[in-house]
Symmetry: C2
Subunit: 126 residues, 2 copies
DNA sequence: TCGAACCCTCACATCGATGTGAGGGTCAAG
DNA sequence: CTTGACCCTCACATCGATGTGAGGGTTCGA
């Protein structure tokens, strides 16, 4: 598929698909006329990128963790330098911290909402 | 305490403490000379703000969810408009989505790391 | 009284993610 | 051949979070 379809299917502006490519997060083949072509797997990949961006990770980091989830179990770690492994470990820990923070606050918001809803159901205009 | 101490204890630049105040995330009393004064609870509050910012939430949203976790159980929902409740529900769901995305990817990174570590332990230079 | 170490406000700069549009090719259908 | 719907690159604009520094007060100890 070309960029327009991918944009529509992922709800992502074309501008951003090009930006993600520029940042090395996705690679697109080109037709002889220069048009980008994508395949089905790019739909998931873009969704993943957007999810991570939305969770606060910068493209620089996303670029590093994406290969870890590539393909089924084809771990191509020969190019894994010690610095890179350390970066990944740090990022794993940061993600864990984020998850904890988000969970705690999400639960608090959820509880607040349920209490308010309960009150509203009991005495609407009180 | 004044801004310098809070900055040091939270590892947050003074500039940002002032910025958070400007965004309505924290309120600081003032000494007669204009200096900001904070109390112990602000240390936790700043940590919470930073955690949420790091998790990708904008100050505008953080400002809305902070009151939900304020104090023990003093829910002051009289000023809870329907729009606000809807915003909170949306944000709760977005946080849940973020948590799922982060967890999935964190686990993948963690597994990648453990496999690589294992390989390295087995045949270091192979 | 002077200097160091605080604090203040204001304002411009940077950085990453994104919006927007100019200027211009490609291609299929009328 | 032309029009409309695609696509391209390039470049400037915006927005939120953050850096940086100018210009200036306050406090305190040497």
């Amino acid at each position: 598929m070309r960029i327009g379809e991918l944009s529509e299917r992922t709800g992502t502006p074309r501008r951003l698909l090009r930006y993600y490519e520029e940042q090395g997060l996705i690679v697109a083949d080109r037709l002889p006329n220069g048009y980008r072509v994508y395949d089905e797997s790019d739909v998931d990949r873009v969704a993943q990128i957007r999810g991570l961006l939305d969770a606060g990770l910068p493209t620089r980091i996303i670029k590093q963790i994406l290969p870890c989830l590539d393909k089924p179990r084809v771990i191509h770690f020969p190019d894994a330098t010690p610095e890179m492994l350390e970066t990944l470990e740090n990022e794993r820990d940061r993600m864990t911290a984020r998850i904890r923070c988000l969970t705690r606050n999400r639960d608090a918001v959820a509880e607040y909402l349920s209490v308010v809803r309960e009150k509203l159901a009991a005495g609407p205009s009180a």
